[in-house]
Amino acid sequence: MSVKRRLGGDPEIILAERRYEVISEILRAALVKGAKKWTMTDMLDKVFLHKVLGIPVFIVLMWATFQFTFVVSAPFMSIIEVVIGWIGGLFEAIPNEVLRSFFVDGIFGGLGFVMVFVAPIFFMFFALSILEDSGYLARAAFVMDRLMFKLGLHGRSFIPMLLGFGCNLPAIMATRSIEGEKDRLITILVNPLMSCSARLPVYVLVAGAFWGSTMYAGTAIWGMYLLGIVLAILMALLFRRTILKGEPAPFIMELPLYKVPTFHGSVIHMWERGVVFLKKAGTYLLAGAIILWFLSSFPWGAEQSYTYMLGHVLEPVFRPLGFDWRLSASLIFAFMAKEIVVEALGVIYAMAGETAIGAALAASITPVSGLAFMAFVLIYVPCLATIGVIKQETGSWKWVGVTVLYELILAYIVGLMIVGVGSAMGFS
């Protein structure tokens, strides 16, 4: 009989087991695991990982993040707006009317208007970088995973979910670290509900228009991120109970030590992520501005343009939510990238000679509809790039279809609920 067969079993496994036995024997003689000293990490974990307090603490820190983002970025937004407005003003001198409109209304009214939102995007990434570099974000993921696990969901999905705050693309790719195929699929399907940074300009615009001078603007933005998380969990539960039944795998997570984040490190992180938006501005959003300007100027001027017609065709669909034709049209274009909502509104208002877009927006819809609009933008259809990555990672158009369909329906229902509850409470 061969030497190997006499051992009975895979020698590689038997040897590995023996090595660990030997290590235990050695350590039994050489190591005493005494009473653990009380470290800073233990102390902080007592609070941040607390069974009851953990989630409220996470929610409060998130609120602080978005309050910070909104308040701190406001003056910077004004500065960028003034600078872009000044440069745009130089193009007013172009004699050719069409060419002038292209630059003033299309490029500066559309693309220039989105660029104002560089400020909140960078400040949000700065705040998130501080939370991440300090080691807190891993705890937030742990706390949320514990909740998800108790609900019967996979307990290691929340890191990809948190990545979704930046961009859903890398977030969906990060689901590759999830072992179970069904668990992974669920995480992919609900990931677009995590509010990515492309949606932030829409929130900042709408919340700023209605509640700009109060604490409520930051709170409304925070509410959207929270809504995204809650809906993601609810949808995950729905998928788990219906089309993707199964048992979740147990979860173990290695948590990093807490560190004092450095200003330098957080700035670098902010830049690495924020620069993605700048690249997008030079490609997608530039193309978007050109297309939007064309559709909003032709065939017969702003009041009889393709955008105007499209908006009016769609308006009845969105009438129950209180969106006007401009918002309805912007939603159609924004399937390319969600910032395009803001860009489209910029172009449409610029064509009408309107520069104070926030004020104009506040005059044309109710605050409740504004909130419903924010929620709608959060939920309805993933952007083009996200659709591509969902196809790539699930390997089938079927799951893309499922995602688009459920998100559209969910967006409409949530929008109706916001309007319904808002009206019932006496807001109109």
């Binding site: 061969s2 030497v3 190997k4 051992l7 090595r19 660990y20 036995e21 350590l27 050489a30 695991k33």
Partner: protein
């Protein structure tokens, strides 16, 4: 001719290996290149201690030494082929259980191992009391506690490296239990029949790897007069 001892640094990822490397060799005297034919970075440098010159080679961080991962194979081949005079195994004292696995693999390789028990402060914070002398006795190799980030234990480490470089190999043997030892013994016996093969590689290590069905080990016995016999034994 002046003697230059070769010292290899090895350890699991995130145990402070590069901090120790930087402590031993100042940045300006480090040489960074690639391992031949690989995209894996190779860092080298020289230092002196008590008038003796040492060449320090940083091996890739790894948890084990299989033939399956490029990093692990590079580290293992370096130890087997180049036979460094000392292998410094950096162990994270606060994760000692997992880290000692690599130490045992190095002992199998019959390398002249020095264990640097790094992050000793964090282990103490965790409440670990490590009996360094006992650990050294059990493993059969010198153990030096270090806190690389504070440069603690570096002089002691250099002293021990020098001592081990100059002394004869100790070849401590870890007992893996009767059944496995018997299997290793019968394979070793066959390997010893090919003197050239037995001279080239540590016999006990080759026997263990063959038993595990390691691709790299099967490659090494190719063409040996006892290849067929060995293959039959592990079939």
């Amino acid at each position: 001719m002046k003697v230059v001892y070769t010292v290899a640094l090895i350890g699991n990822p995130n145990v402070g290996k590069s901090v120790i490397f930087n402590n031993l060799v100042p940045g300006a005297r480090q040489h960074v290149g690639n391992w031949p034919g690989k995209t894996v970075e190779k860092k080298e440098g020289r230092f002196h201690h008590k008038g003796v010159e040492f060449k320090l080679v940083d091996l890739p961080g790894c948890y084990s030494l299989t033939a399956r991962a490029v990093d692990e194979l590079i580290a293992r081949d370096f130890i087997v082929e180049e036979k460094p005079d000392v292998v410094v195994d950096i162990v994270d004292a606060s994760n000692i259980e997992r880290n000692l696995y690599l130490t045992l693999l190095l002992l199998e390789l019959e390398a002249k191992v020095v264990v640097a028990l790094n992050m000793y402060d964090i282990a103490e914070e965790k409440g670990y009391k490590i009996d360094v002398k006992k650990l050294s006795e059990q493993l059969g190799v010198p153990v030096v506690p270090t806190v690389a980030t504070r440069r603690q234990g570096m002089e002691e480490l250099k002293d021990v490296i020098l001592r081990v470089a100059e002394e004869a190999p100790r070849k401590p043997r870890i007992d893996y239990g009767k059944e496995i030892e018997e299997a290793i013994a019968s394979l070793s016996e066959i390997i010893h029949r090919d003197e050239a093969l037995a001279g080239m590689y540590p016999v006990r290590w080759l026997a263990i790897k063959l038993l595990e069905g390691d691709e790299g080990a099967l490659e090494k016995i190719k063409g040996s007069e006892c290849e067929n016999e060995l293959r039959a034994a592990i079939s």
